[in-house]
């Protein structure tokens, strides 16, 4: 299987936004000393990865500082500084997943509309099932038209049972049933899909809170993990999404989806810096095996590829 880095690069090769190329453009042709324009172009290249204005400006300052002190001189050096600095702000090894002491480990997937929750739940089921775990899925999106059917089709494809209710039914009840059934059937994991919602919608956020509360009624230490999906093509709003979802629940990780596109997901760096949510997995396509555990060094290498 190709590495995360290779996967990631495939998308980037098709665009002209490659940071490496723009850096080569900036610094490769540079003969004299670096000027204000050099730094501006550098900032532009960094912002293009959706790192955000603040982090990009900070990186440029760091680079300028080192250049002025005579520590760096080439485009390769610049990349190294950027990589090093981002890597230092990402956790080196993300904390291990919380697992149930007894009974199934319950993971809840949350996020804004269309960010990739349902597909990620399916991919994760496939991933964990491949390592010999017995996985149960819960169709906790009872709102979206055919949201249940979508998960049921995935369940069949990955060979995992699905607990589902009726369209328009109570999502919390489905989650409750799934956890109970997971315990009874001796499952190792229960993965709960939820309906997409904007973090600005108080009522819908309260409903999600209820799902979580009801799960803990059936199993006091559950949900063990709550993961937020972040679409790699999202800009700075993802930071707000993470903040608001995080106010409601202890988010324990991110799933960075659609990294096979041209969006580089730089915003997860800002999310990680401010909120400390580690990226757990990355999504790299629409098929079940298009999922990989997050590797910080690969990600950073790819971010600046």
């Amino acid at each position: 299987m190709p590495s995360l880095f290779q996967f990631f690069q495939r998308g980037l090769q098709k665009t002209k936004t490659s940071l490496l190329r723009s850096l080569q453009g900036i610094l490769g042709t540079q003969t004299g000393a670096w000027t204000a324009e050099t730094y501006e172009r550098l900032e532009a290249a960094l912002i293009a990865t959706d790192l955000g204005v603040e982090i990009s400006a900070r990186l440029v300052n760091e680079i300028r500082d080192r250049y002025e002190r005579g520590l760096i001189a080439t485009g390769e050096d610049v990349l190294a500084v950027a990589r090093e600095s981002i890597l230092a702000s990402l956790p080196t090894s993300s904390s291990p997943m919380h697992e149930a002491v007894a009974g199934p480990t319950v993971v809840m997937m949350v996020g804004v509309n269309g960010s990739g929750k349902t597909t990620s739940v399916a991919k994760l089921a496939h991933y964990f099932a491949a390592s010999g775990k017995k996985v149960l899925l819960a169709a906790g999106d009872t709102f979206r038209a055919a949201g249940i059917e979508q998960l049921c089709i995935w369940g069949e494809r990955v060979g995992c049972p699905v607990v589902a209710g009726k369209h328009g039914g109570d999502a919390a009840a489905v989650a409750f049933d799934a956890v109970r059934s997971g315990k009874q059937r001796g499952m190792d994991m229960v993965l709960i899909d939820t309906a997409g919602r904007q973090h600005t919608r108080r009522d819908l956020m309260a409903e999600l809170e209820k799902v979580k509360r009801v799960i803990s009624k059936e199993m006091p230490d559950a949900p063990h993990e709550i993961w937020l999906t972040v679409d790699a093509s999202t800009g700075t709003n993802a930071l707000n999404q993470a903040r608001e979802f995080g106010k409601l629940f202890p988010i324990t990780g991110l799933v960075l989806t659609k990294l096979d596109g041209t969006g580089r997901g730089g915003v997860v760096v800002a999310i990680n810096e401010e909120l400390g949510y580690p990226v757990r997995f990355v999504g790299l396509g629409e098929q079940v095996d298009d999922l990989q555990p997050f590797v910080a060094t690969d990600f950073v290498k790819a971010l600046f590829a």
């Binding site: 959706d50 979508q150 904007q198 600005t200 700075t236 041209t262």
Partner: protein
């Protein structure tokens, strides 16, 4: 973050409006803040740069510098230029042909299927059209069920064929079906795809060649980041889009992507969507969007009163 942004803006505007005359350096300070605000709203870097340069030029002109209230004039320049870039006013759909075909396209999860249903309702109720929906997404699990469900809910006929995987052919059959059933408008829901996925983008080009849609609308999420330009450019180059629909404006994304997409394609934003219900579709208003991007609603109205 947004409060900080509002503060930044008001700071910038105060430094402009509190003065009897302006210097180049006052303007530069303010423009620097505006530049940051645009970038934080996810307006593309290049687009931002060009925008700030244009505003600078106009602010340094006589009309602003020599006016009685130069600061307020400068604020107005920023606002007006942004509105102009976003498109002066809403552009209606081109609905000639029998049936008039509208094709929706865009990245995964941007809101195409939901928007197809919203448009169907809008055209039926507001423009008295007879609308049919066509399920042309054969990739995503349960995509056909999703559209079928939405059609049933709204009482709009849905053309579908669960066995046919040839999408351009599906579209052609849908045109036939629409004609036979006396529908004057056909909306094609297509599968999500990456703008760089040549095979899948070619599929859309094939639909275009065979059914000649009058409208090809790019459906883009308001929260799109810096890639918005690449997305819009690629879809436009491959398909010649006729407009843009910006979705999920009920969230708090500032929607700078709208400006980027509009700017690189020159194609109008025609609608925005503001929720998950079929009625949550609105005609696009450039001035509202400008104020949202800049977070400067009240500032502008104050200036206009002055």
């Amino acid at each position: 973050m947004f409060n900080k942004l509002t503060d930044r803006f008001q700071q910038a505007f105060r430094s402009l409006t509190g003065r009897g005359h302006l210097t180049e350096s006052n303007i530069s300070d303010a423009l620097n803040e505006i530049r940051k605000a645009l970038l934080e709203a996810d307006v593309n870097y290049q687009v931002t740069k060009q925008f700030v340069a244009d505003v600078r030029e106009e602010c340094l002109g006589e009309a602003v510098m020599k006016s009685v209230t130069p600061g307020q004039q400068a604020v107005k320049v920023v606002h007006d230029k942004l509105v102009a870039l976003l498109g002066e006013s809403a552009v209606p759909l081109e609905l000639s042909g029998s049936p008039a075909v509208i094709m929706l396209c865009g990245l995964h999860g941007s809101g195409k299927t939901t928007t197809s249903a919203k448009l169907a309702l809008y055209l039926r109720d507001k423009q008295k059209r007879k609308v049919m929906l066509a399920a042309c997404d054969v990739n995503r699990p349960a995509a056909i069920d999703q559209l079928e469900f939405l059609g049933k809910e709204l009482g709009v006929p849905v053309f579908l064929d669960r066995d046919l995987k040839d999408v351009p052919k599906l579209a052609l059959l849908a045109v036939d079906a629409a004609r036979k059933q006396g529908c004057d408008t056909l909306i094609l829901d297509t599968a999500g795809r990456l703008q760089i996925d040549q095979d899948l983008v070619q599929e859309l080009a094939d639909i275009k060649r065979r059914v000649q849609p009058k409208e090809i609308l790019l459906v883009g999420d308001a929260a799109l980041g810096q890639e918005a330009v690449s997305v819009a450019e690629h879809f436009d180059q491959a398909l010649g889009i006729t407009g843009i629909i910006l979705t999920k404006l009920d969230g708090d994304a500032r929607g700078g992507a709208a400006l980027s997409m509009r700017q690189v394609t020159g194609k109008p934003v025609k609608f925005v969507t503001v929720g998950e219900r079929p009625i949550d579709l609105e005609v696009f208003h450039p001035d509202r969007m400008a104020q949202r991007i800049l977070n400067m609603g009240d500032v502008v109205s104050l200036v206009e009163k002055a």
